[in-house]
Amino acid sequence: MATKTASTAVGISSSKIIPLSMTALLGLFVVGFVGFSHMEVVHNAAHDSRHSFAFPCH
């Protein structure tokens, strides 16, 4: 609790750094899994989607 209060005292933007980077990393992971995974099964399932997003494919 004390650390949380201290970080907020520095400024609201610094308290946002952790949730925002977690969000961005989660998003990049999801996009990477769907569009860039080299796993054959994932590639086949998302095949038409990958081509239509113009992700590098095959």
Binding site: K4, T5, T8, A9, I12, S15, K16, P19, L20, S21, M22, T23, A24, L26, G27, L28, F29, V30, V31, G32, F33, V34, G35, F36, H38, E40, V41, N44, A45, A46, H47, D48, S49, R50, H51, S52, F53, A54, F55, P56, C57, H58
Partner: protein, 252 residues
Amino acid sequence: MSLFRNIVFTAVIAGLLSGLLLTIMQSFSTVPLILQAETYENAGGEEAGHSHEAAPAGAVAPAADHHDEEAWMPADGFERFIYTAAADMLAAIGFGLVLIAVSEALGGLKGWRGGLMFGIAGFLTVSLAPGLGLPPELPGMPAAELGPRQIWWISTAVCTATGLGLLAYTRSAVFAALAIVLLIAPHIVGAPLPPSHETAVPPALYARFVNAVYATNLVFWAVLGALTGMIRERFRTGEEIAARSDGELVSR
């Protein structure tokens, strides 16, 4: 945590809706062209690419594939449509998460219009800029090794996003010049190209596919951006209260 929860909630709703819209648009535009290209891919016995028709017959096309023929793939028709829809929605949620995270770091979305601007920036970053070097591909078209293409694609997207951000959010000439360098550099380096561009896919079919990809992606990004801007405004529960109560604790 309320910030994280609200962003995820916003991205999931906006991603599901815009991903569904994208899937519907694709089923009328890009997917029929992909299926058509696969018939050329199989008939032409192209060594590049893979086939969806070979698997059900159980016949391994001679030298047709560098992929593992044993790997599972969705059956043509409804099953394939469902997996495409799921992949579209997942990708849309992922893009939405990144879009909101970046916009919050830069001061937050200002309603649906602000969201629309971020959506268009997303289209430039993820569709147009990488597409200048690596245009959309149909099955059966030759391409360079996958790894280097993916690296070039990701680097181009990162450079373009940084360049656009610098142009929009800084006011110094040095940063503007840096932004222009970042926007242009990936295209001067150049994308990895295949040794030959020969393909059995007719150029007219390919031209229609490229247009369809850009048109559908532009609409998708505009809708994703506008929706995130609109929904984000409505779901801020807990964020202000948490910030205020923390502030009160500090002031005591």
